[in-house]
Amino acid sequence: MLRINGLTVSHGAIRALDSVSFSVEQGGLTAVIGSNGAGKTTLMRTLSGLKSADSGSATWNDHNLLHGKPEHHVRQGISHVSEGKSVIPQLTVEENLDLGALWRRNPSEAKASKAEVFELFPRLEERRAQQADTLSGGERQMLAISRAYMARPQLLLLDEPSLGLAPLVIEQIFQSIRHIVDSMGVTVVLVEQNAMGALKIADFGVVLNLGKIAVSGAASDLIADPAVRTAYLGF
């Protein structure tokens, strides 16, 4: 279980998160939505250890997320796909995948993860020897998610995977994320500006506004809530 309590994070004088509290049950898909500048990216970067917090707590099961570097958290089952197409363009598709499993000591397990990834995204297998900068935007996002998946995460943090992608491609990426939750037992926190799309596939929703939680609850309730609809879903 992911528990966040009174989390406050600043960028210099700017308070990006102000006493944020929520928790996420194991095995579900939680969408964190909110407009540009709401603090979504800051939240993800704090949970993965890239950014330090001012106060509050954040734990995944017994693991303190506010202590230690990202390379430490990865080993505890927390993987983060940062905003933008989070792949290394100079490496091949397969090298990007191998990178995700580099710290794992058991090569046959890593190989099994790679097979799962190729099953989920056959396009990546076709392009495995290509340099990642030859991929389309959608393929890069698939690769970024797959790279994180190669670390065999329990908790997967995805920051705006739909950014800059065509609607059909977004649909496909969202379906794959749902599949990762349902079939592979990974808990996913999905940050999105594409609020409606994210809530539709999510189990739970958290709405961030100017660094504070505005509303949270079951995704279907949020979609049905007239106040949320007008303020955040735009209809």
């Binding site: 890239l50 990865v74 792949v87 100079q90 490496l91 990178l99 995700g100 580099l102 710290w103």
Partner: protein, 302 residues
Amino acid sequence: MSQFLDMFLIGISAASIYSLMAISMVLVWRSTRVVNFAQAGMALLSAYIGYELVSRTGNFWIALPLAMILGAAFSAFIEFFLMRTLLKNSSQGPIAAIAPIIATLGLLGVIHAVLGFIWGHGDVQLEAPLSKVGYTVGDTTLFIAPMGLFVIGFVIALLFVVTILFQKTNIGLALRASAYAPEIAQLSGVRVSGIRTLGWAIAGAAGAAAGILQTVNGTGAINPDSLEFSLLLVFGFIAAVIGGLESLPGAVLGALILGLVLAFVQIYISGTLVFIVAFLLLLALLILRPQGFLGSKVGRRA
């Protein structure tokens, strides 16, 4: 004909040493975004260490790899205790960009001073383990001698090892990922600060080999006040820039181009023009193609 062959051989053997220096600079640049001017001093230090090891063991073939290991250790030490502290404490503003460069320049001065203090300001002699008398074919004596041939062969072998290390191993993948995208590497579980130190260590080993090979292939004289290695550093830097500063194959290609061009100038025009031509080459490159020949927007795979 034999003049042409000489030019070619002079070019290749100079290029092999430039390429070691260029690789050192590229590795340090990629891991910490610092141009390490102290590399010249570290190469000179390695020449002295080679000299000490040869006089103690009496065996150059043991001294060379040992000096490379010590060069790697020294370089890793510098990264771990000096650069890391520096980058941690000056992470913002113009000082952050300048501090590491000034630090490596300062270190260069310190190394020269310490070398003079330990070994005195006269020359010491590192004897070549192989003959430096050129091979004769018929009645012409070629430029290339057994010593020079060893230098070329040894560098080719080192380049081969480095290529395998970077392209075929997990450590190599971690080294490349950390160089291109430290944050993504970190999020993938790579311990980037350790990898950074390793990058400096490999650079130190290559620089140590450059220092020793340059010495034994030249006059063998080592002097703490010598600027020979500072010139070598400039040539290595030019070679690295030709290759785009990010790319290991690029650095080797740059060294080849530079070595051959300078050999041509030396044989067919005048030896005194060599440095001027190298400098003009660097200027022309920085103006016409600042990303280097192998450098592109995203860089290269290795």
